[in-house]
Amino acid sequence: MQVVVQDLVTNCDLSGKGKLVLLLHGWGDNLHGLRNLHKTLSSKYQVLSLDLPGFGNTDAPTTVWGLDEYGKFVAALLKKLELKQPYAVIGHSNGGAIAIRMVAQGLLNPERIILIAASGIRSDQSVRRLAFQVIAKTGNIATAWLPERYRGVLRRSLYGAAGSDLYVMPQLQETFKKTVRQDVQVDAEKIHIPTLLIYARDDDIVPLSYGRRYHHLINDSILAIIESGGHFVHQKQPTQVLEHIERFLA
């Protein structure tokens, strides 16, 4: 289904009956990435998933967005579809960071939150992030003499090697930069509703330490650790993830 929200053609999928569950995908992903969750949960709940602006089949924002703009957009979509506050919101990776920010700002008022490999902790200078910054800075100096088209190719390879999502969606580079600068730890502290945190022990993009940190910050939270599955643990270990989610939502 397509609707126009904030002048952007927005692709979303609303199905099932019952309490509303909202699904928010991560950076570079789209609603298909959460299809398994959508399909299973829609047998018991009304489920809304969407392509966030710039991803999937939703128009890209025309200005630089951060978590706040994405949050306001999701709230506007709920209003457009004449939906009440969701019973639960499920956010994966950057979708988790958006969910945390929305709840802290009062844009969302769910009874349950589920964060799968949620990002949003930006002060942790992990080795990867450090490497990313070093490469970005030294790369700029070292490649200054190259023509722009070759610098672009080289940049893509270097950022890719550093595990950065900067070039996953080239048209959203500035939005990505703004988004990754936003830390939502203060927002997480404001959450006082039951929250389920699901992290894979082998996630090398958003590490388990982020889950532990959120567990510490959100006082009514449960941390479910899945031994393997990486960053897309809901796709790699769907049965385990769904068991946790269904038990938590029941």
Partner: protein
Amino acid sequence: METVAVIFGGRSTEHDVSIITAIRSIIKPLELTKHFRVEAVYVSKDGSWYWDEKLKDITLYTSGDITGFLNKHHTLNVQFDGGLTFFKTSGITGRKTTQKIDIVFPSMHGTHGEDGALMGVLDMANVPYVGCGVRASAIAMDKVLAKQVVQANGLPVVPFVYFTKDQVDTEPLKCLKIITEKLHYPLFIKPAHLGSSIGISHASNDKELQNGLEVAVHYDDKVIVEEAVHNLIEVTLPIMGNNEPKPALLEQPLTSSEDFFDFDTKYIGGKKGGSKKGGVKGAQGYSQIPAKLPKQLEKQAFDLGLAVYRALECSGIARIDMLIDEKTGVVYFNEANPLPGSLYAHNWNRAGVSNVELVSELIRYGKERFAIEQQLNTTFKTSFLQQF
């Protein structure tokens, strides 16, 4: 050896689809004929034209390297010299390359290409080209005009109404009132000039209808709203030829009705609802070729497809989409596509026409129509100027 210029890309939402049609279904088979020198002309999304041998390489587009390529190449210049001649400069010395074009093979879907705009330029240049002419292209690519012409020829179309973007923007409630008075749910809302299912919505109630209108006018300045057909069987019929059109096989998409109106289903692997069972993978997901229909319905569909092709004055090639109400046995005209995606080569192959034969025949039809047009008298002797 004749030189064929294949023009593709363009300022259209169907830019990417047109690249695939050009490279896979036109350029490769034309080169295999060994009868033509093929020149690739790529029109970028900003409307700049480029001419280069490397533009025939699909990986240039799939890898995203096309932007870098365009940055280091000059745009194409054209000379209207009673025909069409390309020229470009390259290298530090500004070396000039020229090429006289014998016939053009347009491969631009959607706006500024399939809608007759490109054909107008080619008519002005007095160069033969493949496919429908200006009038047929312009009418076929306007879903409202096409339905009006077909209806005026006494052929069946589903009940429809249409509005301009201005009407929808300024008087949405009035539009809703007109629609609900004249038509019955469920409805389909479509941008009038776009193909590939872009901006199409299905509505079962006023709220969905309102949303669908907003989406459609986001893409186009005219929107058509039409009743959905019950007990639906969708079929499509590729046809080629000029005065004596020849049909390929009647084809039935195996996607569900709802999913068929979706760009991803059509062009990204038929992944949503497309089914392999009993079908072949074509330009737009899986489909059944030939469609399994009762003899009478099959005949009606062939007759209607050919009648529409003639009514719209199509030439060269087109694909006619039809909707069948299985219970009432009525076959309705739905849409005409003057440049079917990938030429619908998969269907022609099943009908016994190879890709090489298909492009060769289309070139022949293009030249045939051009020769007929050249015989028309375009001058009229008068003494009008002498009075000044």
